[in-house]
Symmetry: C2
């Protein structure tokens, strides 16, 4: 599954550095130094027109002189020279290059043109490019380091980092070192003229040393392809992403930085959900989650046991556990009795278990074992403030064998900093992730739970309605005008093609015809002015509800058409839509849009003005899996209240679910459908269906 043209970036036979420098202050020196010091075992070559030697290696003056083997070039020569360098590398038989040089697209139109030239040259000779304007690649296990970053080099470890930002790379190397973990791969992508974040997912996921993949993303190059590839990768390894450009000003900064189009955050959220990618809220969280995912087994559920020797830390942990959607495990009577037999009478054997300050390391270990034997406990947090009677290091040594032999994740919390250092080092040596704060440990546990639950969903397939008629939808759309809203009848036909129940409005061009149509639909009816020029009918007084009889229909026909003309003089009035009025029910909104970057998105939520004001909406990628549709309902108040709430009777939730699935399928089948919105979807009582009352659809 790995693109063979990318292999030289990950397992090169020989590397040449163009722009290697003898001046230690220059980045070209750093490149040469890092490659040598990395311990890279393939061939190493340096090119500099000035010649001479560098760190004991000859400086070739021309690419042509570079001997075999060589299949990866790292270029750090001035921007205007780069296209020529690529051509020379191509002549020398090289098909992969990292362009570290900056001053391309990020610097303005001139740089962008130069970048285009690089791509042209590379395309012509079938060469793959990483960069330009990037830090390069690190593979700590091969080993290989093509960066110019100042030493010390990235520590060896199990976390891969893929980044749109070069500056963050240097910080990440130093952060992971501070956290006592290491990197397997570092991939700095720069301007991504060719190789993108999506391209490198498969090779990194295939790396046996990598246990977790972290990503710093400013956007994605191709939404659907990213989702596809990330989903593949997530089946093998957990992915944790820090996606920036979340807020408006963030987006502006991203745009000025990479020129990439930042998609809407809802679309990214939906894409990450589908791909099984865990999204961190900030840089620190990304690293702390990666640490837990690299070092802990996955829990079988959400119930956490908390073991501590004091009340305060237990309450703090309990708060954090609840806040993150985990829960405190209910301990079995047997567990509580066994604990009680070991502990002083004043100890608390409810979860959080408080052993009191007199607890020894041995008691910690024994109580932890007892908790882990409880089948209702899926994971555990063991907390200690700086202990007054023994060293935290002693506690760590006693706990490590217990933690290493249980299949359940156990996270030690060493509350403190300097006084717990010995314990920290013991745990790190044993590859057990430890945290300084109960809240951080709870967050780490939540990442483990998320991964376990997400992994179980990764093989789910989108739902498909066999009775849908994509051809009919295609025909309806092909008969509609691009960029325009579809006529009401056409929109309703789309619903019919996907078997979504409607209450079709029938067009009456006269009061008499309106009376006839109303008689056949059954009273009461609704009357709505029909005009291609009027989008929001109720805003112009163009809607009349609960019209009880034929005479009122005739009067109503005149009223709504006159209202519409008064507010929008000159509007083309086709007549009035007559529509059966359904019994009352809950009303929700369901829709779909084509996100320019990510693809078709489905939306569900509270309708009316609430949809914008309260933002009680959920988005997901189309087509939907059943669990995604369920989550959309559970994630909104509009969806939760379908089960009934106080004096609100339960509504036909199953029909709403089906409507969402069908609507999603329509959006996925017909990318030419720019947007569609059912507002409202009237949901009747259980078993009585959900009806699209008003449907607006626009063709691309």
């Amino acid at each position: 599954m790995i693109d063979p043209t990318l292999l030289p970036f990950f397992q090169p036979q020989g590397v040449v550095i163009l722009g290697a420098s003898r001046e230690p202050a220059k980045l070209g020196y750093g490149l040469a130094r890092n490659l040598l010091w990395s311990g890279y075992s393939g061939a190493i070559h340096f090119v500099n027109p000035k010649g001479g030697t560098l760190l004991g290696y000859p400086l070739y003056t021309r690419m042509a002189e570079v001997p075999d083997p060589v299949d990866l070039a790292v270029i750090l020569t001035p921007p205007p020279s780069v296209p020529g360098m690529l051509a020379e590398c191509g002549e020398r038989g090289i098909r992969a290059a990292v362009i570290a040089t900056g001053g391309f697209r990020e610097s303005g139109p001139e740089g962008a043109a130069l970048e285009e030239r690089c791509l042209e040259v590379a395309r012509k000779i079938g060469m793959r490019l990483v960069g330009p304007n990037c830090v390069g690649l690190v593979n700590t296990h091969l080993p290989l380091d093509t960066t110019f970053l100042p030493p010390p080099p990235a520590p060896v470890g199990e976390v891969a980092f893929i980044s749109h930002s070069g500056a963050i790379c240097a910080a990440v190397i130093d952060w992971v070192r501070g956290q006592g973990i290491g990197l397997s791969h570092l991939v700095s992508l720069g301007n991504q003229v060719d190789v993108t974040e999506t391209d490198v997912l498969a090779p990194v996921a295939a790396d046996r040393h990598t246990k977790v993949i972290t990503l710093y993303l400013e956007s994605v190059s191709n939404g659907p392809r990213f989702v596809e590839q990330a989903r593949q990768a997530a089946r093998q390894k957990p992915l944790v992403v820090l996606k920036v450009g979340r807020y408006e000003s963030g987006k502006r900064a991203a745009a000025s930085h990479t020129g990439a189009l930042a998609g809407s955050d809802d679309a990214f959220k939906a894409a990450f959900r589908r791909a099984g990618v865990l999204r961190a809220d900030n840089s620190e969280e990304m690293l702390q989650w990666a640490r837990a995912l690299a070092g802990c087994p996955l829990p079988q559920g959400r119930s956490v046991a908390v073991l501590t020797n004091a009340g305060g830390p237990g309450v703090t942990a309990a708060d954090a556990i609840e806040q993150l959607g985990l829960r405190l495990a209910e301990l079995q009577p047997y567990t509580r009795q066994t604990l009680q037999a070991l502990l002083p009478a004043a100890a608390s054997v409810q979860n959080p278990v408080d052993m009191l300050a007199s607890a020894t390391p041995e008691l910690y270990a024994r109580c932890l074992e007892i908790l882990l034997e409880d089948p209702g406990v899926h994971s555990a947090m063991v907390i200690t403030p700086p202990p007054p009677m023994f060293s935290a290091g002693q506690l760590a040594r006693t706990l490590i064998p217990v933690i290493q032999t249980t299949p359940k994740p156990v996270i030690p919390v060493l509350m403190g900093e300097r006084m717990v250092q010995e314990a920290v080092e013991h745990f790190r040596a044993a590859h057990i992730p430890e945290y300084r704060f109960p809240e951080a440990a709870a967050s780490a546990l939540s990442a483990l739970v998320w991964r376990a639950e997400s992994l179980a969903r990764l093989d789910e397939q989108p739902w498909q309605a066999l009775d849908a008629d994509p051809e009919r939808a295609h025909r309806v759309l092909s008969e509609s005008l691009p960029g325009q809203f579809l006529a009401q009848e056409a929109a309703n036909e789309l619903m019919e093609a996907y078997c979504i129940p409607t209450v079709p409005p029938r067009l009456a061009s006269s009061a008499a015809q309106a009376m006839e149509l109303a008689e056949s639909a059954g009273f009461p009816v609704a009357l709505k002015v029909a005009s291609p020029d009027i989008a929001h009918k109720s805003d112009v007084g163009g809607v009349l509800l609960n019209v009880p009889d034929a005479a009122a229909v005739a009067r109503g026909f005149d009223l709504v058409t006159q209202n519409a003309l008064r507010v929008k003089p000159g509007a083309q009035i086709l007549g009035v839509h007559v529509q059966r009025m359904l019994p009352p029910g809950q009303e929700v909104i369901a829709g779909a849009v084509q996100d320019p970057l990510i693809g078709p998105l489905v939306m569900f939520g509270s309708g009316g003005v609430e949809v914008e004001g309260l933002k009680d909406v959920a988005f997901a990628l189309a087509p939907l899996t059943r669990s995604e549709a369920e989550e959309m309902l559970e994630g909104t108040w509009a969806g939760r209240r379908l089960r009934g709430f106080r004096n609100l009777p339960p509504a036909d939730r199953a029909s709403v679910l089906e409507c969402l699935l069908r609507l999603a399928q329509l959006a996925a089948d017909r990318p030419e459908l720019a947007e569609i919105e059912i507002n409202p979807l009237r949901v009747l009582g259980e078993g009585q269906g959900a009806y699209a009352i008003d449907v607006r659809a626009r063709k691309k």
Copy 2:
């Protein structure tokens, strides 16, 4: 303002330790050691019935032998002995004791009884008690250390920590040491049999070495008194609180820990808002905010300038700034031009300002100066990843003079860990708070902004209506049954007493009287037959809506009474209720409850089922200040949409505000009013008022 009976805890003339031990493994040794090593300059005495010497001091066998001066006792003898020890201390003239011993209320009913005895003894001799079951007191500036915590002792600094948990104290000492800051005071309160978190606020706030007060709270002992005292303290120093027991299971753990009743989180939120106390979400945030508040000047507004040498960190910072409700400063043209003249063409002189990787320490300093001169910039964040071309320490040295001479807060972000250590140490030596992550720095800035805005509000007084009639409300309530809901008329009378408009139904016993009442209420009106024998008036044709004028009222009076009598012959007809019919409008809910711990709370939000399902509600303490009432509206969708939204016309927001203020005053004036709820409050168009349609009230 400081209670003189508490002075011995903060400035004792002489300290005696009861239970001082010669065995280094015992806590009683730790107590003696810490007091000696703290450098406490008053008299130091040890008591132990075994006699001998300890650390060069005599061990007195009885309290009576202890010489002058001595005004503070620290007790660590077995629980049953403590009441006797207190009595002995009292005889020796001591009026303040710290009971470090555990095994009281937290251990069960027996311990609770013992704790009560301690209090009785102390009350009899006028002695104040801290504890039992506490770690004790530290004052690093006096200096004084009455704890048994293992060394090293708390570092000297400017942050006070007041705690309901002893275990957290040891962790906080170590955490602050790790963060390069120190403590002024540490107050561990234990079971709070006497002295509470509220009592110690004034003495700690008065301490000139303390710049910030942090609190770990599981509850508060007396809500209204806490608010009052915390508000006093917050006028002098910023208060940052970590309040645990926020979630259900957290609450359970707190209850088993201290036996304290954890009030509802909404009530605490309202109390902290009123008191001007900043609430941290977790332990780490509390410390990081305290660090910023101790070391930075306060900003004049929310606009932040971000200075960096790379794009990624800038976007990350921008995201965090927006997420926290701050904003990126819009730079003035002059600022941008000045920056452009200094920076390479490809640099970004929009905020975030990206100087590019070539930026030197001098350029950092110069650009920072330029940004700080911009009047639209209220604070700045200076970010550097581990720099490749110079040391981070060099950057720190260059930036420090700029940061120290500006009145605006500047927060350095040193992205990394080990490679930025030199810079970290320079900043710490200069008392400039620095952070490792842009997100943490943004959070610190948000705390500074919060403090600045909160300080400005601290002198605001609750609003008071001079036309309110508390006596009338009192009379209405005293005529109602305890625990029962008030009759509709009585509830409406409460509204009238506080001048909250209602649409009361008025009884007319004749058509003529009905016409009169209708004229005074305003047309249109509703007519409803009044009969104790008719429950469902509309079923008997006893209701007439939208009656437009006096003549129609006269006809209507006859119609509804005759209808009623035709359907229910013999029914007792009292007449007809005449009620003004309001035009449609927005509907909201407003209410008040007495929180058992915190006191009267006002509530505002979306009505209907939404109020519980969507939780679109805000709470505040009664009586309300104007800014609190404003925040309740701005903090809810129900309140925001009063300004109008899409096709929803603006409503009479001012009347809603006034209704909230009046309702709050009623709740504050009448604590016997257990709860009251206006649902709905109908809000008409601008200038047309807001009317309590239905009012439910319950007496305690």
